[in-house]
């Protein structure tokens, strides 16, 4: 777990490499299943975030998952949002809370009506 401490890399490639090392260590410890799962998602998240950064033209790396989704929806990229949801298995309820919130902020009533 101490490994997770020193991960403030800005360089995404390096970050992912570092995280993978950490993941390997965690995998050896059976009692840490929860943590290693979390780390695994985190690695995937960072990679997706990097992709999305190019698409959406914002900084996303470093944001938590919910925040990433919210940002994405706030930009009006609903398709991407749905993809994120599938990719990270975001529970239905949480997804719609975030989406609802984002749509209200955007005042996108048409999309809201379609929910």
């Amino acid at each position: 777990l101490i490994v997770a401490d020193n991960l403030k890399e800005r360089d995404v490639a390096k970050l992912v490499a570092n995280l993978k090392v950490a993941l390997k260590i965690l995998h050896n410890d059976k009692a840490r299943a929860l943590e290693s799962a979390a780390l695994d998602t985190h690695i995937r998240l960072v990679q997706v975030q990097r992709q999305m950064e190019q698409e959406l033209d914002t900084t996303l790396v470093g944001l938590p998952l919910n925040e990433t989704l919210a940002q994405c929806l706030l930009k009006g990229n609903y398709a991407r949002g749905t993809k994120l949801r599938a990719e990270f298995k975001i529970p239905e309820r949480r997804y719609y809370w975030i989406k609802l919130h984002a749509l209200v902020v955007r005042r996108d009533w048409a999309e809201l009506a379609r929910l």
Partner: protein, 716 residues
């Protein structure tokens, strides 16, 4: 008489402070003018005890806060740093020292005073930075700061975390030293009682220090050293680990709510400009302007003026109105405020009735006081209004409901669980939290932002109360939710909480032994205590459920506006810490309502079986009498060691001796190791009233749920 004693208590403390300021001025060996550079964490605390005027007398020209960037010392020759021994701060200092020597200005004298003591680590850092030679290092010991007549604080943040997570015991040393100082002033406490592992450590080190004093002999006037205190009948140490539930709940006293909504630091609250404060209050209330601005020195008063709209309000007993409402349950505050304002109105009206010159004169004489009262009333009304807006929001009530049903021992309903889910989904990771670190920029929003603090408070409560029936599945789901909502680095937070047992994963069956403590020599020092926040040998599967009954934690008929039981501070729940104290003093409130209950037998030997209301025979309650005996089953369910040490000289029948002493001694010192809440203080005050016996609270810091958890939360 007691009141006067209290005064002398504070006065002497303040004197001690001023004197020592002189001392260390000499120590610093910088004569003439100098600049004082203060640690931000210290400035507030310092402002309470030291007057800027005193500093000026010692040649302090300017006060800066330790911050990034170079220091503009101007032409002054000496620079005096006063900081906590943190590595980051050492680096800052080193940088400033180097920067000024490079700029080729006239050589300066640097002196560094570390509060509360110098550490090898800090010296190493300075050495590595290559500036050790340029700085004279000393240590400046911090004692209990008297925030109030009955409230002492060390203002040491995050003690609890240091003890239970980092295995860093230095704060115990500080507490022990501060207590020794008190003992030096008032004589030894005849008896030390306590609960909790680190309470044990503290008691041990107190005993050791006392031995050292006695054997050292020559150093001080050993005759006076050995006298027992006639002021305090005993010292009660309560480790925060014993009662982790209390700080997590939303405090419902006025003072507590201010700290929940605005955050109170060092006995004052800073209000944002839009806080609906009367615009006519160009200065501030007299109370605030005398104690608030002058005390905190140039930096903060300059701040108030430049910002113009910021205000600091001192919250202490010098404000008559505040004194009345501070400890009230918030439900009653509104009514009382309006009553006071009507009274005030009447007083103003009285000038029309004044006929003779004499009457007019006496009115004018009162006018100053009236105006002061008027001002403070205004600010409290607006404060109360803004808090009211918060307490009436759905959001606040939803949280409160969750808390109440958890405390009441029932599981959460589906709706409540769904609410938690919603909170997590709409969490705002960057929300600012009152009572933690930085001050609020503007008016706090009506609904609390879904900060990680707020979420974790609820979850921790759930874990603490539901303990055995906390399902792995729920934990896993929350784990995932939190990570998704607040970022991956919060895994560290969750791990921290798991290790101290605040939010423990049901699967982690291994005893919580901080790995930092693994080294044998530290263990030896500790009498091989492995600190843990779990009960040592619980006999009941559901400890907290047992405690709730045994200690009568939940009181259903609460009289919020006219309290008769400590439970009023949370509208129904009495803090465990306070109940423990009540066990010690044999307060009837801890006994089940029916007198034939199993504890009734315990009461009889003390001769006060018909005890309610306590005031009727205030003589027999109040003061620590019987110690822990009779409460073993309760104590077994609480974590940590139990302490009962007598410090009486004649070791023979110490209990009798203590009891004899205890009858006379008018006060008990209650030390909260790891912080205490405003509600607990309020409850102590209520007990003091009921028992006709002073309970003086001493704590490492005043906390609320947010600041309590803050130290565990990993920052990005």
């Amino acid at each position: 008489l007691q009141a006067r004693h209290q005064c002398s208590n504070i006065d002497s403390q303040q004197q001690v402070w001023s004197e020592r300021f002189g001392d260390y001025d000499l120590q610093g060996q910088i004569r003439g003018s100098k600049v004082l550079v203060l640690d931000k964490d210290l400035s507030g605390a310092l402002s309470i005890v030291v007057d800027f005027g005193v500093l000026k007398d010692h040649g302090v020209e300017k006060i800066f806060l330790l911050d990034d960037g170079p220091l503009d010392t101007g032409t002054t020759k000496g620079v005096l740093y006063l900081t906590l021994p943190h590595i980051r701060k050492m680096k800052l200092i080193a940088e400033q020292v180097r920067a000024s020597s490079q700029s080729g200005s006239a050589p300066k004298e640097y002196s560094l005073q570390l509060v509360p003591r110098r550490t090898l680590l800090c010296e190493r850092v300075l050495e590595e930075e290559g500036v050790l030679g340029d700085i004279t290092i000393g240590e400046y010991r911090m004692d209990f700061i008297p925030l109030e007549g009955d409230l002492l604080s060390l203002e040491l943040p995050s003690t609890f975390k240091e003890l239970y997570l980092d295995g860093d015991f230095s704060s115990i040393q500080h507490v022990a030293r501060a207590i020794m100082r008190l003992q030096g002033l008032y004589g030894f406490f005849p008896r030390i009682l306590g609960k909790g592992d680190f309470a044990q450590v503290l008691a041990d080190s107190l005993a050791r220090m006392r031995l050292e004093l006695v054997s050292g002999g020559a150093g001080g006037p050993s005759g006076s050293v050995l006298t027992m205190s006639t002021v305090f009948d005993s010292l009660v140490i309560i480790d925060r680990a014993v009662d982790m539930v209390t700080p997590l709940l939303t405090q419902l006293t006025y003072e507590g709510l201010i700290s929940e909504v605005y955050g109170v630091s060092n006995g004052s609250v800073t209000l944002g400009g839009v806080a609906a404060l009367a615009p006519s209050a160009t200065g501030s209330t007299p109370a605030a302007s005398t104690s608030g601005t002058s005390g905190s020195g140039s930096n903060s008063s300059g701040d108030t003026q430049s910002a113009g709209k910021r205000r600091r309000i001192m919250l202490n007993d010098s404000d008559a109105i505040y004194r009345e409402i501070r400890s009230m349950n918030f439900a009653g505050v509104g009514a009382l405020l309006s009553k006071i304002s009507r009274q005030l109105q009447d007083n103003y009206e009285s000038r029309h009735r004044a006929k003779t010159v004499q009457e007019i004169r006496s009115f004018v004489g009162k006018l100053g006081g009236l105006q002061a009262e008027h001002q403070s009333l205004k600010s409290h009304v607006s404060l109360a209004e803004s808090i009211m807006r918060r307490t009436q929001s759905d959001d606040f009530n939803a949280i409160l409901e969750i808390e109440q049903s958890l405390v009441g021992g029932s599981d959460l309903t589906k709706d409540q669980l769904a609410y938690i889910e919603k909170m997590l989904a709409l969490a705002d990771p960057s929300a600012s939290v009152p009572g933690v670190g930085g001050e609020l920029k503007e008016q706090p929003p009506v609904t609390m932002p879904n900060s990680i603090h707020k979420v974790l408070r609820v979850l921790c409560l759930y874990s603490l109360w539901r303990g055995p029936s906390f399902k792995q599945k729920t934990y896993d789901a929350w784990y995932e939710d939190i990570v998704a909502a607040f970022g991956h680095h919060q895994t560290i937070t969750l791990d921290n909480l798991d290790r101290v047992g605040l939010l423990s994963s049901p699967s982690s069956t291994a005893p919580i032994v901080s790995s930092v403590l693994g080294e044998p020599h530290t263990l030896g020092l500790l009498n091989s205590i492995a600190p843990s926040t779990k009960p040592r040998n619980p006999t009941h599967a559901n400890s907290i459920g047992f405690l709730r009954k045994a200690l009568n934690l939940i009181v259903t008929d609460v009289r919020e506006s006219n309290p008769d039981d400590a439970s009023y501070v949370y509208s129904g729940y009495a803090p465990i810490s306070i109940r423990l104290l009540q066990c010690l003093v044999r307060d009837p409130a801890v006994y089940p309502a029916n007198p034939s209950g199993r504890y009734a037998a315990l009461l009889r030997p003390l001769g006060d079986s018909k005890v309610r209301p306590a005031l009727a025979d205030g003589q027999s309650t109040g003061g620590v009498k019987g110690g822990w005996s009779g409460w073993e089953d309760v104590l077994n369910e609480l974590p940590g060691e139990t302490i009962d040490v007598s410090q009486s000289p004649g070791d023979g029948d110490s209990d009798v001796a203590v009891r004899r002493l205890g009858d006379k001694a008018p006060a008990t010192l209650v030390v909260f190791l790891g912080g205490c809440t405003f509600t607990e203080i309020a409850a102590l005050r209520l007990l003091s009233q009921q028992h006709g016996h002073r309970y003086i609270a001493a704590t490492t810091q005043i906390i609320n749920g947010n600041s309590f958890l803050d130290s565990f939360i990993q920052k990005t």
